[in-house]
Symmetry: C2
Subunit: 495 residues, 2 copies
């Protein structure tokens, strides 16, 4: 067995190096590489994915993992969990034919720049053939990877959030639909009037300065990561020592960069605070997308949109943009950043209407994967469904079905984790407040105390346990969406 | 043989993909990655280099290359050249022990950020232990790779410029030393007084705007590459469809960014103008460092510092920086950008004194590789030698031995190609002028005609021939340094 373990650890190094390769190439494609360069190099993406595939399905590796899996009770806890995950991963990868795997990798690498162009040009037809092929693959994937317990869309859901399926999500969304939807409808009946101060021009350089300040407030370790601009804000991490976040500055939209910086800063804090001993293993990084999103949404909304946070940091914002915000009171500012209204774009949606955007996508994906809705009908269906939920109709596909990058990457099954994350955030907040007064702690000027609580309860585990297990350890209970609904209704009833 | 060829072409795809991986990772390290991230990920660099090593020394691959090498006369010209180069490369790689190869890759990946810090902090001691190990490896390399014909420093020189050795470089530098050095001494006797207008603040944003304009003048295809900032300007390319250049803006030093943009633009033009059929082969990209540098220096100095160039583009510069350059005449500007004086930093040296900087490094490297000079004695030796050549002594190591990044990458043998490139540029210029009036062509507003001449004579071949062969095809003669000396003396005698 020691021999198998040695082989495993040796072979893992190669797989981890391939993770690093994919991390850097992904970062490059999303931030630097020119459109035609990506298209021209999509063949490389295919060859690289072939190498990864071959490393993952290497017979000697599979044998060693098989032996370790059989003797997993003799392994330490972290390695035992890893072997369980890896064992399943190998079985799953083997079920996907290599030629399909490579072609799909080439396809998604080509689809990204096409998607960006289609979105910019409001041209769904440009993206349609790519999306059709992606959907075709995802549908096949559900067949290849199905088991006696997990079938159809559940196969994809489980990939992004282990142990979650349509049954659980349906229950979750049922609670939201019952308690939250009527409340949201009441609260967003009147359109919000944008105050004049918010329509000023906020210089990019000054926005960047404030975002860098925010990064320090959140204790982001700059020696182990960077902040950069990209079209769509995101976080990308390789271990605890290379954590990268991006934002996007709109000069006519001050809050966009600020809240995306806090959001991505939340993801980054999770990555930077994993236990260092997990670096170089498959147990580093976040435990799941849902748990990851719980961290970003926790910092962005629960902390970042709180009055307590801005009591401390609003003067800095005023100072940087002086005199533009001199006459805007703290209350006016806090009220503005917490307004609720029906809007087209998920990433710019307010905290209250956000989960409706996710429900929309969840229901659409269910139909698409089940073969009940075809790609060509997506724009029309999106707009109809959107109108039903929000009472407004997207004027363009750019503001409708083309707004999110996820499907261009083939990430069907991903969206629901966003709503799950928001709900987990509220659950964590409830329990954090039992240990210390969270809003009071912000007076120290940083989120240090909050970071520490989350590190001990959530972050340090990395992906060494399943997300539902970590939630139980952190809060002493299973996932409970009522904290979320209660939090939202309480917060938005005040106003 | 067809079977071997098929295998070769299939295996080459993997090696090319690894080139792509190294291209992207190298770009990332030099532009984005944080210092501690690079250090933390140096283990990945080692594993990736192991993969490359294993792919290069794969027995089946070696066998197929061996068969193709034996039957190379049956191959088309491009593939024949490639097989010759690859055959030698495999033999060379095999001579380096894998553990040394991996350790060295890890070492140089760690050395880069340390070097940057050492340079910024003027702390040679910080960098010394890394450089010592690098030198140790390079010395060993000369032993591993030596043949009956190529020994010592020649082994390294040949790696960067095939068919060049100390004998040839010594001859070249002898011409420079005899004809140019006394001329330079005369011309740089009086210190140059920097005019007041040149000491103004030139806003970064406006410099960027002008550099983007220059990129268009040079017909850089933006859909197949990008321009970005980095500490040290450089060009990096993967095939014709992903060509990236960087520059660095100093607000108190207008010309730095402009001429580095033109310089890197020259490299980029070479890469973008290779024959597209060479993409995905080992015959893409430039034929050698010397030939590459001949292109960058051609555009930077012969074109970019000519009066004819600025007759067309100076008004744009004045417009962008208005009113700062309104009272500076074209003649004043051209005179300023062609001033010659002794200075500390190679990358900022004028066209006339530049080759002396290279001679200095060449002589130092000869001694270091021969074991006649140790790393610990480098700063002192550098300063003594520098004083002898230039009559001024570097006040810091930052402005002395630490100024160049090359040794941090282990690039001993690289520097001489810079001087060679300058000389080749003059030789090409001489012959180009026989075909058309080069300065006259600039009146069209772009370098299109020049680009086309160079594409047909030099660029299109990529690395499908040896550089000396391409030079012969382009000019009808062997390398001749007299064009360079004549060009410089003629240009600098005018003033």
């Amino acid at each position: 067995m020691q021999k198998e373990l040695d082989f495993y650890l040796q072979h893992r190094k190669k797989l981890i190096a391939m993770h690093y390769v994919n991390f850097v190439i992904g970062w490059d494609m999303q931030t630097d590489a020119a459109e035609n360069s990506i298209l021209a190099n999509s063949e490389q993406a295919a060859v690289i994915s072939e190498m990864s595939y071959n490393l993952t399905t290497d017979p000697e590796y599979e044998r060693s993992v098989g032996v370790l899996f059989k003797h997993r009770d003799e392994l330490d806890e972290v390695l035992r969990h890893e072997i369980e995950v890896v064992y399943k991963d190998i079985q799953d990868t083997k079920k996907i034919p290599l030629d399909e795997y490579m072609a799909y990798s080439e396809l998604t690498s080509q689809a990204y720049p096409i998607y960006v162009r289609a979105k910019n040009e409001n041209n769904f037809e440009l993206f349609r053939p790519y999306l059709e092929k992606i959907v075709e693959f995802c549908r096949k994937q559900t067949v290849w990877l199905q088991t006696s317990k997990v079938k159809g869309y559940d196969v994809l859901l489980d990939m992004y959030e282990p142990h979650y399926n349509q049954k659980k999500y349906d229950q979750f969304f049922k609670v939201l639909r019952k308690k939250l939807v009527p409340f949201v409808k009441r609260k967003t009946k009147k359109p919000v009037k944008v105050p004049k101060w918010a329509t000023q021009t906020f210089e990019k350089e000054k926005q960047r300065e404030f975002c860098e300040y925010i990064r320090d407030v959140m204790c982001f370790d700059k020696s182990r990561g960077i902040m950069k601009e990209s079209e769509h804000p995101f976080t990308s991490g390789f271990g605890t020592d290379d954590v990268r976040i991006t934002t996007h500055y709109y000069e006519d939209h001050l809050e966009y960069a600020i809240f995306s910086a806090i959001h991505e800063g939340g993801h980054a804090t999770y990555e930077q605070q994993c236990d260092k001993s997990l670096n170089g293993t498959f147990s580093g990084g976040g435990a799941s997308l849902g748990l990851h999103e719980s961290q970003s949404r926790f910092y962005e909304n629960i902390i970042g949109r709180s009055r307590a946070f801005w009591e401390v940091h609003y003067p800095k914002l005023q100072e940087i943009f002086a005199p533009k915000l001199n006459k805007v009171s703290l209350d006016q500012f806090v009220k503005y950043i917490n307004r609720a209204e029906a809007s087209f774009v998920r990433t710019e949606a307010d905290e209250l209407t956000y989960p409706l955007h996710i429900m929309l996508r969840y229901e659409i994906e269910q139909k698409v994967i089940a073969g009940e809705l075809e790609v060509k009908d997506l724009p029309k269906y999106w707009n109809e469904k959107f109108t039903e939920y929000f009472g407004i109709t997207p004027p363009t596909d750019t503001l409708g079905v083309l707004q999110d990058v996820h499907w261009a990457y083939g990430n069907f099954g991903y969206f629901p984790t966003y709503a799950l994350g928001s709900a987990i955030a509220a659950q964590l907040y409830h329990h954090m407040n039992k240990d210390f007064d969270v809003e009071e702690s912000l007076k120290e000027g940083t989120t240090k105390k909050i970071n520490e609580w989350l590190r001990e309860r959530v972050h340090k585990y990395g992906a060494s346990k399943y997300p539902d297990e970590i939630l139980r350890l952190a809060t002493g209970e299973d996932f409970n969406p009522n904290y979320y609904v209660d939090y939202l209704i309480k917060k938005y009833s005040k106003k």
